[in-house]
């Protein structure tokens, strides 16, 4: 764990750069985390982040790809365009949530 300055606030992150305390998250922090991933947040990105946030409140888990498609209405193709490389991992980090643990 380490403390880090992001967008003017100091936040706790784990060794992989995920926030460990979501109360430290805000939109400016999200934008700064996105910049680290080489992403500039647009309305489309925000739609994904907002869905992750509301779904996490309901399920206490970061939604998987299929849930983002079926429940969130966001096609996989778009997710890869918006968050190249690893959409779920990157979107979860920017949204201030833990790295999604896939089930065993």
């Amino acid at each position: 764990m380490a403390t880090k300055e992001l967008a003017g606030s100091s936040v706790e992150v784990n060794e992989e750069g995920y926030l460990t305390d979501r109360t430290q998250w805000n939109e400016a922090v999200a934008a700064a985390l996105a910049t680290e991933e080489g992403i500039e947040l647009s309305d489309e990105h925000w739609k994904v982040l907002k869905f992750i946030e509301s779904d996490f409140a309901e399920k206490q888990a970061v939604p998987g790809m299929r849930r983002l498609n079926k429940v969130g209405g966001i096609p996989t193709k778009d997710l890869y365009r918006l968050f190249p490389g690893g959409p779920i991992k990157k979107a979860a980090r920017i949204a201030g949530f833990p790295k999604p643990a896939s089930c065993v």
């Binding site: 998987g64 299929r66 643990a101 065993v104």
Partner: protein, 417 residues
């Protein structure tokens, strides 16, 4: 008479029919429904393509394992109507219940992947999660002369999450025996960032893949299959060509769950992880692969769940508090080829770690280490399955609550689940 209705006579349903027949009061009538007359030993599908088991080893008449107290109905199930406490069978007949147990498992859904059921399906591309798939793959392995053998996991969760890895290890062994290993590239493509979902086991198994010269393509989320070019393509446009594709397609709960509007996006039923009660209705219980619980979908898990569920349903029948708690315990042997195997033992909180099982220091099984005895344990599982597990008898020395004794728990693995 009050009615206990069980849907699905696979591993979980059969165990529950047996334990409830022994323990439920005489005022309960027990009925169990399944669509087919054959009970398949699914763990055996893994061994068919390598000639270790034949078709005969993996199938027996379903009725043989069901208790005489329970009425067996062979029929498709159309829909569950939780509001009316009834189930509609394929022919339209309705069965009422006071308590319902759903054990309809999960199935592969190759149609979920663009192109997977195209012209290569059943020819150059196969599965081993169904009896038919394993049969066809057996023939393909027999005819194999070398080339690129690609294993793909479409998405998680899948039942028996170690089975694809075991397939890779066994293919390495089988092809070495037949003098074809040098002519074969084995490629393991997975959506995970390593061999397994949990870090300690993943590191150990990754190392083994490397030792065996199996190429790993990780973080590979399959988008489509190109049947003309014989290659799989990921969403981020990586291409992996194959001569033989061994696919583990998306796993989903039965369509019945979707028709009944009871499932999540994969038709798994939201279930209370402690009591195994369906979140939707208090007189519905869910067991085995049909649940959405964050533990392995495995026969061993169904067995541990059954011990908990039996006690809880008995309490529920008497109108008492349900006190038994399921901890997510899973216990899986992993075949690693050349007559050796691993053993994993874990639960919701504790990831698999090295150690001894079931007795500290003694074993005889080695956790997360490769031994011959673990391999024999895996083969013995077939006997245990048909003769003890399906009857719902406790497995000697192995409790449904995972034991921390004998496990070497590194500091980090302790907390992270």
């Amino acid at each position: 008479m009050k009615k206990l209705l069980i849907l699905g006579a696979g591993t979980a349903g059969t165990i529950m029919a047996n334990t409830m027949s022994r323990k439920a009061g005489k005022d309960w009538e027990i009925t169990i429904v399944d669509q087919s007359e054959v009970h398949y030993y699914q763990p055996g599908y893994l061994f068919m393509p390598f000639g270790v088991y034949t078709e005969k080893d993996v199938q027996k008449p379903r009725k043989k394992f069901l208790p005489s107290r329970a009425t067996y109905r062979q029929s498709g199930i159309e829909q569950i109507c939780p509001e009316d406490n009834k189930v509609i069978l394929a022919g339209g007949e309705e069965l009422g219940y006071d308590i319902l147990i759903v054990g309809t498992g999960c199935r592969i859904a190759p149609e979920e992947i663009d192109g997977l059921t195209g012209s290569d399906w059943g020819k150059r591309s196969h599965d081993f999660y169904t009896f038919e798939g394993a049969r066809k793959l057996t023939a393909a392995m027999k005819d194999w002369q070398g080339g690129r053998l690609v294993i793909n996991i479409a998405e998680m969760p899948i039942k028996c999450p170690v089975a694809p890895l075991e397939f890779a290890f066994l293919a390495d062994w089988y092809l070495t025996q037949r003098g074809l290993r040098e002519k074969t590239e084995i490629v393991y493509t997975t959506p995970l960032s390593g061999a397994f979902t949990k870090p300690v086991a993943s590191a150990i198994l990754n190392h083994l893949l490397e030792e065996k010269g199996i190429i790993v393509e990780q973080d590979f989320a399959i988008g489509s299959v190109d049947n003309e070019g014989h290659k799989i393509v990921s969403w981020d446009e990586r291409e992996v060509p194959y001569d033989l594709l061994v696919s583990v397609p998306t796993n989903m709960g039965d369509r019945l769950i979707e028709r009944s509007n009871m499932g999540d996006e994969l038709n798994f039923i939201p279930t209370n992880r402690d009591t195994l009660q369906a979140k939707a209705k208090e007189n519905i219980f869910v067991i085995g692969d049909a649940t959405d619980l964050p533990t392995s979908k495995a026969g061993s898990v169904a067995h541990f769940e059954a011990e908990v569920l039996t006690e809880n349903i008995l309490s529920y029948m008497k109108g008492e508090e349900m006190e038994e708690r399921f901890d997510g315990h899973a216990n899986c042997f992993i075949e690693s080829g050349f007559g050796k195997g691993f053993l994993l033992d874990f639960n919701y909180e504790q990831e698999p770690v090295p150690g001894h099982f079931p007795f500290p220091h003694v074993g005889p099984f080695g956790l997360l280490s490769q031994t011959r005895l673990n391999h024999l344990g895996k083969l013995a599982f077939k006997y245990v399955y048909w003769h003890m597990l399906l009857k719902g008898y406790p497995i000697p020395f192995v409790d449904h609550r995972m034991s921390y004794l004998g496990k070497k728990i590194p500091n980090k693995a302790k907390a992270s689940a």
